[in-house]
């Protein structure tokens, strides 16, 4: 070992500069289940605070739903705890195949392959299906895990301006001579809560003979009339070639992800995707829970309908109070504050009033676009939303930003 | 627009099949344990799981998982630094650090992610990674995602490593990376010599303990225990998906600042949920059990010795091994497949490996022994090996 002082000092100084820049990520310890009401130890060592959580990806309120927990118990009883093996050696149970079938049915695809996480699905899919003769054309705001996947793939890559169809078309023309083209989007963009223009993108893909890829992590389960995702919302269910999504958000929130789509693409992933070949798949306890989640969602749209109602109420309440929001209709509702420090102060004051929401700032969002990202859940009842709204208004008044425009807030606090 | 790619992919799949490399999955309808049920209804003895300590279906882990489902729910629906950290995650991190005698630990969704996310935050294009040629695929991917200069040394070859270290002196920092136990052979990396060289040439050391943690060393605490190097390996990565219960999850454990940097910058940590509460809680139970008593580990060591001796006595060619991985050498690819198939008929589930997973003409059957195997399981396996070995002319 030569963890010399030189190395140690370098890392110490890096950590210090992260702290000095106010970018240090401090974790808050939750002592309860994930739900609308949670118990949080923050700052570390303090007694527990009961707060309303408005920053989880628990869109459908299923993260600690009693039926899901019951199914997980049953999974432990019938299929044990761990598999201690990768899929193709001795790590495949009947329930893994059942889940792959059920997901395909739910998303309306030909086949599905499970990954330990959607991060791994995105990291493994491109290299498995593309070569250096091909090109990946991605929206500039796609999730970091897609970027890692593209970095691991020898195909050429290019980007287009966020949701800018003219620019996408230009790029499709530019790369017309490539063997295969694949257009890569998020279904819902996690920081702004806007939706990819799936209908227009699908039309361009048809026109220019490109494959269509979409990461549905922030849409599966609740976007579209029956919650199948953005491809349902935009009426292009049969035009998407590759979907990746997660079970770690709306669909129970435990862990795991998948690639779902054309049969041959899924089959190639099973043969070649490295995170699939070299890592255990989802544990039986989690698989059993997700199976139950899909049953619940297939039986009734009640939860996604309630989420839609809650979202409308929340967006309307914040808008009427005079906050600047990002446009959209998804349960991701960014409250724009523009200034990084203001976003941190605002979040801290909310916490003191019993509302848990995190401030995001550069480099997670662009410079001068700091915000509190709120995420609404079907697990929120009206009293949660009313209390949270009250807290937002109180803190908004304290900083005198209600009714102010972007320009006015930037003048007061800087960008 | 799915058109021509379909044909292209079909052709490639066909080529994989023709090369005999097509991976089929066997479906298990029971829990993971010594005797499993497969979807044909047959019961077979499993000798190909990484279930080294026999904990995959242990009642204490199952109970711990159930208790936390009730107290801490099913999923977190969030990454760690937003609202996805529970007291359970913190406790498990501390237990792992205590177990390995390190300063701090960070959990990942899988060890694949731990290895994938360890290099990029710590090293830049000014630095060098010096990696054993037989290192696991996830280390290779982690290295690919990092801008540092890359050097490779012949597996476990200390002369070659020394040459690479000399070459790499021109860089700011160097890190030597090795698997603790190589998964296809079962031999332990010479980490004692690696640490000596690291001190001589001012390099850090990272060991992937996926197949060694819980297995090698007096009480199973891995290569740092085996070579008495506690505190001298700077970075250890490991998994909860093998000996430690076998569900999912990985970790990086080591120096405080390194772990802290990873918590701030490691992409798989920042962009993916951590392990769910049930897995965190069963993980805590694993380390509690292993600290309370050495029974599981002793059973494993005894089983390995017993099986190894019997197989050698039967006349099989076994690779030297200091772990729970026993490579029965057959050299011929086709023979390895035939033998595995016949063993399955005898109720023994093992896998034959051949090129490119192992070098050409080094085909083998990899047997993985578990603390969960009973003596009669081991006897039955040796018997079946002997019978099939004679049928196929492997044994005289």
């Amino acid at each position: 070992m030569a963890y010399s002082n030189k190395v140690q000092e370098l890392y110490q100084s890096q950590l210090k500069s992260i702290q000095d820049a106010g970018l240090f990520k401090q974790e808050r310890f939750i002592h309860s289940s994930q739900a609308a009401d949670i118990e949080v130890e923050f700052p570390t060592g303090s007694s527990l605070n009961k707060v309303i959580n408005v920053c989880a990806n628990n869109y459908l309120g299923l993260s600690s739903h009693p039926e899901v927990i019951k199914a997980a118990h049953e999974g432990l009883d019938t299929r044990g705890y761990g598999m201690s093996s990768v899929r193709f050696i001795c790590g495949t149970q009947d329930i893994h195949r059942e889940l792959e079938r059920k997901v395909s049915e739910f998303l309306g695809t030909e086949d599905t392959i499970l990954f330990p996480s959607c991060m791994d699905a995105n990291a493994g899919v491109f290299e498995a299906i593309l070569t250096s003769d091909d090109v990946m054309i991605s929206d500039r705001l796609v999730h970091a895990s897609i970027i890692d996947g593209m970095r691991l793939c020898p195909a050429q890559h290019d980007t287009f301006k966020h949701s800018n169809m003219e620019h996408l078309e230009k790029k499709l023309q530019l790369h017309a001579n490539k063997r295969l083209k694949i257009v890569i989007n998020d279904g819902v963009y996690s920081m702004d809560g806007d939706t990819a223009k799936m209908d227009e993108i699908a039309a361009l893909c048809e026109k220019y003979d490109a494959l269509l890829f979409v990461d549905e992590s922030h849409s599966s389960g609740f976007i579209g009339k029956t919650g199948r995702g953005t491809h349902e919302k935009y009426g292009v269910m049969d035009k998407v070639d590759v979907i990746t999504t997660t079970f770690g958000k709306a669909l129970g929130g435990a862990s795991g992800g998948c690639v779902s789509g054309r049969k041959e693409i899924v089959e190639m992933c099973r043969q070649k995707a490295r995170p699939y070949l070299f890592s255990n798949t989802i544990a039986p306890v989690v698989v059993s829970g997700v199976l139950r989640v899909l049953d619940i969602l297939s039986q009734s749209t009640e939860r996604r309908d309630k989420l839609e109602e809650n979202t409308k109420f929340w967006r309307k309440g914040l808008t009427e109070a005079g906050f600047v929001l990002k446009d959209g209709d998804t349960p991701i509702v960014p409250v724009m504050l523009f200034n990084a420090k203001l976003s941190q102060d605002f979040s801290r004051d909310l916490f003191d009033l019993g509302v848990y929401a995190i401030g995001f700032f550069f480099p997670v969002v662009p410079q001068g676009a700091a915000r509190i990202r709120t995420q609404i859940s079907a697990g929120h009842e009206m009293h949660h939303l009313e209390k949270a709204l009250d807290a937002f208004i109180k803190v908004g008044k304290k900083y005198d930003i209600l009714g102010k425009t972007k320009q006015e807030i930037i003048e007061m606090y800087g960008s | 627009m799915y058109g021509k790619i379909k044909e292209h992919l079909q052709a490639e799949l066909e080529a994989i099949k023709n090369a005999g490399l097509y991976k089929k999955e066997r479906i298990i309808t029971s829990a993971q344990k010594a005797d499993i049920v497969i979807n044909t209804g047959e019961q077979v003895l499993n000798f190909c799981a990484n279930n080294y300590l026999g904990l995959s279906n242990h009642p204490r882990l199952i109970q711990a998982a159930k208790n936390s489902l009730d107290s801490h729910g099913y999923g977190m629906s969030s990454v760690r630094f937003i609202c996805g950290t529970q007291d359970l995650h913190k406790e498990l991190e501390k237990q792992i650090a205590d177990y390995f005698g390190t300063e701090d630990t960070i959990l990942y969704a899988a060890c694949f992610d731990a290895n994938g996310g360890v290099f990029e935050p710590l090293l830049t294009s000014e630095d060098a990674i010096i990696s054993d040629t037989l290192n696991h695929a996830s280390i290779i991917d982690g290295v690919r995602l990092c801008k540092a200069h890359r050097y490779r040394y012949e597996s476990a070859d200390m002369e070659d490593l020394e040459d690479r270290l000399k070459e790499a002196q021109k860089h700011r920092f160097r890190i030597i990376v090795t698997d603790g136990v190589f998964s296809m052979d079962g031999h332990v990396a010479p980490v004692d010599k690696i640490v000596e060289l690291a001190e001589k040439y001012d390099a850090m050391v990272m060991v992937d303990e996926c197949h060694s943690a819980g297995v090698v060393g007096e009480s199973g605490r891995g290569v740092t225990e085996l070579y008495n190097l506690k505190g001298k390996v700077d970075i250890i990565t490991g998994t909860l998906g093998k000996a430690f219960g076998g569900a999912i999850g990985g970790f990086t454990t080591g120096k405080k600042e390194i772990i802290e940097i990873l918590r701030q910058k490691s992409r798989p940590y920042l962009f993916s949920n951590s392990i769910p509460p049930s897995v965190a809680s069963a993980g805590i139970e694993v380390f509690k059990m292993l600290t309370e008593s050495n029974d599981q580990h002793n059973r494993l060591v005894n089983n390995v010795e017993y099986f190894k001796e019997k197989m050698i006595a039967a006349g099989f060619d076994i690779k030297p091994t200091e772990s729970a991985i026993i490579a029965v050498m057959l050299y011929d690819a086709k023979l390895s497949q035939e033998m595995a198939a016949k063993l399955l008929e005898e109720g023994i589930y093992v896998i034959g490996f051949y090129y490119p997973v192992v070098p050409k003409e080094q085909a083998r059957i990899r047997v993985q022994v578990s603390a969960g195997h009973k003596k009669e399981h081991l006897d039955k396996a040796v018997e079946a090996f002997t019978k099939v070995g004679k049928e196929l002319g492997v044994l005289k």
């Binding site: 593209m150 970095r151 890559h157 290019d158 980007t159 301006k161 966020h162 800018n164 662009p366 | 294009s125």
Partner: protein
């Protein structure tokens, strides 16, 4: 010629990376550290420069720092002309 190269690069940057609402970009505007161009999208800029000036910029030299403003990019390109 020199002014011309800067103008060409600036024009490409605006066309390729800026939306209408973005602030004015000058020769000194920090592109990457300022969040205008993410390091991944930098690839198209690198390719543009290589095609336009018939040069090849090794990956080791294509650091985010070297691409951080039009002025710096010009310096970089000249090294390989």
């Amino acid at each position: 010629m020199e002014e011309n190269m800067k103008d060409i690069i600036l024009e490409y940057v605006i066309e390729e990376y800026c939306d209408e609402e973005d602030d004015e970009v000058t020769f000194d505007t920090p592109l990457i550290s300022g969040g205008l161009v993410d390091s991944f999208s930098m690839v198209s800029l690198k390719r543009f420069l290589e095609n336009k000036y018939k040069i090849s910029i090794p990956d080791a030299d294509a650091s985010p720092e070297a691409f951080d403003s039009v002025n710096k990019i010009e310096t970089l390109v000249k090294r390989f002309l």
